[in-house]
């Protein structure tokens, strides 16, 4: 690798040789950075001899560098010294300068030792186009920059790739799928085939999937939490958001803003809040006994790492424990950046069986439509009901029965906690239930409440244990029902609050100084098992937490009106008829019983209650039950049905993890040596000053301001970093090879001006990603043939000079998706929950934790689930799917900006023997027989084209025909049994065909899928 880089450097410097003056950024800084800055750079803690070489004033003043006078410069003496005590870099540093490097430094000092700002930190300026020289190759701006570099190196571009090869390249690059035979034929017939293909591919829903797949690596998306327990999480609605954003061609600045700060946008939509799941994709640890704060800090650090790598192209994390050794980022800068992400209400240990808070519901767009329709319907039905009631009587209360109905059947009450005959003491009281209550068995609670104003949440009843130390067993176990400060009913069930808890809050809020009836029923441990009723009508709920790991048993004194937390949380209103009942309750029967109870109790309640406007709603209900008016009854039932359907639908929505600011910001300190518990100075959120673009003075220091800063047209990094990654996606290597590092240690760009051109074009066109994709794939540079002479492969193995087209191995996802596509098995559905394709049996055995957490067992799917695109495969971080992992997909434990494709024997074994590929081969074989023509040669050529997009050469076809004959003979004479290849996979077998023929064709199809050409974009 070193040798190759050196070769490139020679090529590049050769290009610049005409200038002769040493370029600081290109030639000098890398030498100083690699060899000197470690001890004489920005990091104060590491600095030796008080010397800084990264700041010109220091370097000059110290005498290390005397501009124009190498002989007088101490630096020159030291780097030339052979005395081990004097020599720089010191021998024990394992660093040494080459004679050329020493010469470069001397020349630079001779020429005045001028420093310059690191290229990537300078603002982006649209460069002038190089003059068009020579022939008319490549008229696009991109081509002019590339041609300029080629000319300087005495190279000429390659000719255009053969059309089929180019069309296949485009299809795989833009959608991750091969072009179908029909597409190839259609495009080839167009006036401008490549342009026709690009138009169609950019409009395909698979374009978004392809772009998203790259982004999911950066965003470390997975379907499990990682770490020891590695339970399943639900983040796929966020993944679908990404696919949609790319398909909609959302402007990229908005793409950044919504993911970083969608929740903070004015009137944030459902979709914008969902986008912030980006910052919750990090791993989460649920190992018992970990120290919460240690891991909470890790999660925030992960957000810093991901955000800075994704858009700044900087390794900010290097400044977590000490000032950055190379880049101008201090430890203080790091924690200022950290402060942007340090303000959500999260816990270190979480996610044992479900998502970690904060959560939000994320219905699919179809469900959102269904929800809107139900709400509309409900509203109409409610209006109708009101009209009927109003018409029937102007004084509903008068017609209500004076006493409770004789046929009312209130729930069996185990404990009558409080009735109005008792006075309610200020500090509440305690009562022990006659028999234990449990969430597994179910229980319900009901009461009449008259809230007084409250600033803080107040408890109604609690068994939650806050008395034990937080870190100890037993802390935070119990149940609690109370009210938020806004008056919503707040229900908490926990084995360890807050991580392992169910926490549900009603949408309905109780007013102050008005009587309301509240009922809660609990029928299990999940959030959806908690139902809340206000005035006898079920309220929609918000799920705050849904990670309760087991039964919550109430067998100790229940604190009424207070908790044992050491605060003033006391219930301060009026309370009547607080009742608690044990046992399983049917929600529908319960609701009806409560309503009866309300009718009865309301009529015996105080005058104040009877007078209240607030009571109209349930009194209308009372009226409805009392007045046997069929029209009212029908209208009521119609609304009730719709209401129940809506709540049921809402309960079915997946909950995803999102960002949500805490009302009171968490204080952020510098953490000394990076340790979570060693606090240094207090800092506020800010961006590194050294990038030369301060935040606006008056802007709030929050994630939204950060997003606006990143997408400020004057920002030096964001557009360059994003365009470089796009280039990398299409060419295999970025213009800056170190895609995740644009700092001073980064590799010099192969085409700096081209990179700036792309960045400027991107910004000026409103961050239009499809425009940029179109521009790049439309260039002659991209469309070159990827074949080259041995000499050129040797001279420029990574194709940094772009004298040929890109040749890249297919990504893991493409390898499998292509096999599914060409065999006709592919299920092209976009989005949805993860899929479970074939995986060897017991693959998790011996690795995963023994406890049966969600996601610790893998059950192979069936039907269409087996053939979903690979990006939807259940992504388990600690045991990645072998078919994908073998082809270099990352485990997604952290942000990855570049996969490194490898070439291993395990890949050969997978392509030969993985049922995924064998089944695809079987189906492709069938297709060759059914659709490919009538004779062997035509069928084989057809199959060859389906896989590679081109026609085989006569020699290639001869090899295939010959092999087919041999395979057919082996299967026919029984040397090999046909079921070896025909019994693989769930897909139905083609009926009527001869098994020997099918097996022989399947074998040939398998060969096609194994071709090096097939698993490369050529």
């Amino acid at each position: 690798m070193k040798v190759l880089d050196a070769a490139l450097l020679v090529l590049l410097t050769h290009a610049a040789a005409g200038a002769e003056v040493v370029d600081f950024n290109r030639e000098v800084r890398p030498i100083l950075s690699e060899n000197c800055f470690h001890c004489h750079g920005a990091d104060a803690a590491q600095r030796q001899g008080e010397l800084r070489l990264d700041v010109p004033a220091h370097a000059y003043a110290s005498g290390a560098i005397v501009p124009g006078m190498p002989a007088a410069s101490n630096l020159v003496q030291r780097i030339q010294s052979i005395d081990p005590n004097d020599q720089m870099p010191p021998p024990d540093s394992h660093r040494a300068l080459t004679p050329q490097q020493i010469e470069t430094l001397i020349q630079w000092i001779q020429e005045g030792a001028a420093y310059d700002v690191h290229w990537a930190f300078k603002s982006i300026k649209r460069p002038a186009l190089p003059a068009q020289e020579g022939d008319d190759w490549g008229r696009s701006a991109i081509d002019r920059f590339v041609a300029d570099q080629l000319n300087a190196n005495d190279l000429t571009p390659s000719q255009r790739a053969p059309l089929p090869t180019l069309l296949r390249r485009l299809s795989l690059d833009l959608t991750g799928l091969p072009a179908s035979a029909e597409q190839l034929t259609r495009w080839q017939a167009a006036t401008d085939p490549a342009a026709a293909a690009v138009d169609e591919l950019l409009a395909s829903p698979h374009y978004g999937e392809r772009m998203a797949t790259e982004w999911l690596d950066v965003a470390r998306y997975a379907d499990t939490h990682g770490f020891n327990n590695d339970a399943a999480r639900t983040m796929w609605p966020w993944r679908d958001w990404v696919v949609k954003a790319f398909n909609d061609n959302m402007p990229y600045d908005q793409f950044i803003a919504e993911q970083l700060a969608g929740d903070l946008l004015p009137h944030a939509s459902q979709s914008q809040r969902l986008a912030t799941g980006f910052n919750r994709n990090h791993v989460i640890n649920s190992e018992g006994g970990i120290i919460d704060e240690e891991y909470r800090v890790e999660y925030v650090a992960d957000r810093v790492r991901t955000t800075s790598m994704a858009w700044l192209g900087l390794t900010l994390e290097c400044a977590r424990c000490h000032d950055h050794k190379f880049d101008p980022i201090s430890q203080r800068d790091y924690y200022q950046f950290f402060a942007f992400f340090n303000n959500i209400d999260e816990t270190g240990e979480d996610g044992r069986i479900a998502n970690a808070a904060p959560l939000m519901p994320a219905p699919s767009s179809a469900d959102q439509g269904r929800l809107r329709a139900l709400k509309r319907q409900e509203s109409q039905q409610r209006k109708k009901l009101r009209r009927l009631i109003m018409a029937s009587s102007s004084e509903p209360l008068a017609t209500a029965p004076a006493e409770g109905r004789a046929d009312a059947s209130p729930p069996q009450l185990a404990v009558d906690l409080f009735s109005e005959s008792q006075g309610f003491p200020d500090d509440g009281f305690e009562i022990t239930p006659a028999k234990p209550l449990s969430t597994n068995e179910g229980w319900s609670l009901s009461a009449w409440i008259n809230r007084k104003g409250a600033e803080a949440p107040v408890p109604l009843m609690s068994t939650m244990n806050y008395a034990t130390p937080r870190s100890a067993g037993g802390y935070g176990a119990g149940a609690e029902v109370g009210f938020t400060s806004a008056g919503a009913v707040d229900v908490r069930l926990a084995v360890r609050w807050p991580a392992y808890a169910t926490h549900v809050v009603s949408r309905r809020e109780l007013s102050v100084n008005e009587w309301s009836h509240v009922a809660v029923i609990v029928t299990g441990n999940k959030a959806r098992d908690v139902r809340i009723f206000v005035d006898g009508i079920e309220s929609a709920t918000m799920i705050r937490r849904d990670g309760l790991t087991g039964d919550v048993v109430i067998n100790e004194p229940i604190r009424v009106g207070h908790t044992n937390r050491n605060t003033d949380d006391r219930f301060a209103g009026e309370l009547r008829l607080l009742q608690l009942s044990a046992g399983p309750v049917d929600a529908a029967l319960f609701e009806s019983a409560i309503q009866d109870e309300i009718v009865r109790d309301a009529t015996v309640a105080s005058a104040a209650l009877r007078q209240s406007n607030r009571t109209r709603r349930f009194l209308a209900n009372a009226l409805r039950r009392a007045a046997s008016d069929v029209k009212i009854e029908d209208a009521w039932n119609a609304w009730r049905t719709t209401h129940a359907q809506r709540l049921e639908l809402e309960r079915s929505f997946p909950q995803v993890m999102v960002m949500q600011e805490m009302p009171e910001p968490r204080r952020t300190h510098v953490l000394l040596r990076g340790q979570y518990d060693v606090h240094g100075e207090l800092v506020t959120a800010d961006v590194p000053r050294s990038l030369g673009l301060p935040l606006p003075e008056d802007a709030p220091r929050n994630r939204l301001t950060l997003a606006r800063w990143l997408t400020d047209p004057r920002h030096p990094l964001t557009a360059r970093v994003v365009m470089n990654r796009l280039w990398q996606q299409l060419f295999g290597v970025g213009l800056v090879k170190t895609a995740s590092d644009f700092g001073v240690q980064s590799e010099w760009p192969s085409h700096p001006e081209l990179l700036d051109f792309l960045a400027a074009e991107f910004i000026e066109n409103g961050w239009d990603l499809k425009h940029m994709v179109r521009l790049i794939v439309g260039s002659a540079t991209y469309q070159q043939d990827s074949a080259a002479t041995a000499e050129m492969w040797q001279r420029d193995p990574e194709n940094r000079l772009l004298a040929r087209g890109p040749r890249q191995r297919l990504t893991a996802e493409m390898v499998r998706d292509q096999a599914l596509a060409v065999s006709g098995l592919l299920n092209p559905a976009v989005g949805g929950p993860p899929a479970y394709p074939y995986q060897p049996p017991d693959y998790y055995m011996g690795i995963v934790v023994a406890a049966d957490y969600p996601g610790s067992r893998y059950t192979v799917g069936s039907g269409g689930d087996l053939y979903r695109r690979s990006m939807y495969t259940f992504w388990k971080r600690t045991v990645p799917h072998p078919t994908l992992a073998t082809f270099d997909s990352p485990d997604r434990e952290f942000c990855v900006a570049r996969r490194s494709p490898t070439n291993t024997p395990l890949q050969a074994l997978a392509l030969m023997n993985d049922p995924t590929f064998l089944e695809a081969a079987r189906k492709l074989g069938e297709r060759m027989m059914n659709e490919g023509g009538t004779d062997d040669a035509t069928r084989l050529a057809w199959g060859f084209r389906i896989v590679t997009a081109r026609q085989p050469s006569p020699e290639e076809l001869l090899t295939l025909v010959d092999l087919l004959a041999r395979q057919r003979r082996d299967f026919a004479d029984g040397a090999s049994i046909t079921d070896a290849v025909l019994a693989v996979g769930d897909a139905a077998r083609s009926q009527g065909a001869n098994d020997v023929e099918l097996a022989a064709y399947a074998s040939l199809a398998s060969l096609l899928l194994n071709l090096d050409e097939a698993i490369n974009r050529n």
């Binding site: 980064s746 060897p840 600690t878 030969m912 071709l1011």
Partner: protein
């Protein structure tokens, strides 16, 4: 000519590479019976280090990882004085405010639990070894017991990740990957880095493993460990479909090579030739791996040595036997994991069972390697990710008690290639709580393992994201006192 050039390890590899470029293709194809033309293959990448930094003491490593954190107090760190402190509070002068895990931090008292099991001194060298390890006791004079290992991590995931990759957080390459990256393979038909996993005989382990423990982090994925599975196929997708005759596969492979070779001639991409070579290697693995996994050729005396468990695939004993077979075949880094050492409660019964699982086979491996002349070139390491506390988690009686995680002091043993036999290194205080002599940090252990293989841990680096990374981060000192 540097004296380093004389090292057999490299001479061996060079011969192999010559063999690869000239003859292996022929060998592979001839064993497949094909008649296609032989292309020179450069399939196997050359290692990063062209030359070893220091004189190597070992050619390979077998790491017997005891996952979960075995208690040093019962096995390797003898503290007879504790008997008299039964159920007394851990003195604050010992604890010194050190953090303890969330599992006991709410417990009112930290009461001393002396080991229920005795120790015996090894004849000649005197190293005390717990009576739960009778077979290990017999080979005590071959072992270097280190009582002074230290880690900062106190939970499983970060602690194992730290020991295996030098960082508590995910993302770094594992030790085996570093070694493969640095000095490559000695073997042309098996991966350089192989992983074997066993589970305890007494039930289900509480802790999971993570494939990142043998992952390659930011190194190319070809350096990651290959897990040999005990159920199903040892290597994913190794076997050809049942009923496919070798001749059918051979003609298929020959045609594939022919077409790939044609493509190479048209396109020029050298990766195509690597691909051709990898198909040949895959074909060799189809023979070599089943051969490796089939222990039918082992003698009765071998099973007597390793124990009856070794007849059963997936046991620790079988994996130890497999480790020897892998060592014989020249595999560079052999990583075993035995899970189930996490004994928070009822430690005496649980640890006795785990000790039974591993004792005989661990000792057998040492003796077997020794009698085959392999011990001197194979470094064997036995140990977990941390130790356990002297105080009990939960109630303590003479009969039973539990122990929480303890990273400040724990014990491992090493044997073979390059370490002094029959010594003890480092000392802990009377409570096995703090190291009082010869501390060995995780990074020191890693540096020492690399040193045994001839690698200077400070000079095996990989440039990633603007920084030179290494296994030992920016730390680590070779523990020279334990090396020969």
């Amino acid at each position: 000519m540097s004296p380093l050039d004389r090292f057999a390890i490299f001479a061996g590899r060079r011969q192999f590479l010559q063999h690869t470029s000239l003859g292996l293709g022929v060998a592979a194809l001839s064993c497949l019976g094909g008649d296609a033309a032989v292309a020179p293959i450069g399939g196997l990448p050359t290692p990063q280090l062209s030359r070893l930094h220091i004189a190597p003491r070992a050619k390979r490593v077998i790491y017997l990882f005891q996952a979960g954190g075995p208690s040093q107090l019962e096995l390797l760190d003898y503290k007879p004085q504790l008997d008299s402190r039964f159920r007394t509070e851990l003195p604050e002068s010992v604890r010194q405010g050190q953090r303890i895990t969330g599992m006991v931090s709410g417990q009112g008292e930290l009461l001393i639990a002396p080991s229920r099991f005795g120790f015996r001194a090894t004849p000649n060298c005197g190293t005390p070894i717990g009576n739960l390890l009778p077979f290990t006791q017999k080979i005590g004079d071959r072992l270097c017991v280190v009582n002074s290992l230290r880690t900062e991590a106190i939970n499983h995931d970060p602690a194992i990740t730290f020991l295996q990759s030098g960082s508590q957080q995910p993302g770094r390459p594992s030790m085996g990957s570093w070694i493969d990256y640095g000095i490559g393979s000695e073997c042309d038909n098996l991966p350089a880095f192989v992983v074997l996993i066993s589970t305890p005989s007494n039930g289900r382990p509480d802790q999971g493993l993570l494939s990142r423990l043998w992952g390659s982090g930011f190194l190319p994925t070809r350096h990651q460990g290959v897990k040999l599975r005990s159920a199903g196929e040892p290597v994913d997708f190794l076997a050809n479909p049942t009923g496919l005759h070798p001749t059918t596969r051979r003609s298929w492979l020959a045609a594939l090579e022919e077409l790939n070779q044609r493509r190479f001639e048209a396109v020029g991409d050298p990766e195509i030739q690597t691909r051709i070579a990898q198909y040949e290697l895959a074909a060799r693995m189809q023979t070599s791996v089943p051969e490796l996994a089939d222990v039918a050729d082992e003698s009765e005396s071998t099973f007597a040595l390793y124990g009856e468990d070794a007849r059963k695939a997936g046991t620790y004993a079988r994996n130890c036997l497999m480790a020897r077979r892998l060592a014989e075949r020249g595999v560079r880094f052999i990583q075993l994991y035995h899970r189930g050492w996490d004994h928070h409660g009822d430690l005496p019964n649980n640890i006795a069972s785990l000790a039974r699982d591993v004792d005989q086979a661990s000792a057998a491996l040492i003796l077997d390697l020794e009698q085959r002349g392999l011990l001197e070139e194979t470094l064997v390491v036995w140990g977990g990710e941390f130790g356990r506390t002297v105080y009990s988690q939960g109630a303590v009686t003479r009969e039973t008690y539990g122990r929480d995680h303890h990273g400040r002091a724990f014990s491992i043993w090493l044997a073979g290639g390059g370490v002094k036999p029959g010594i003890r290194y480092g000392r802990t205080d009377d409570f096995s709580f703090n190291v009082i002599e010869g501390p060995v940090h995780i990074h020191d252990l890693q540096a020492t393992v690399l040193a045994c293989l001839g690698i200077d841990h400070e000079r095996l680096t990989f440039a990633f994201q603007g920084r030179q990374y290494r296994l030992t981060d920016v730390h680590g000192t070779v523990v020279r006192d334990i090396l020969t």
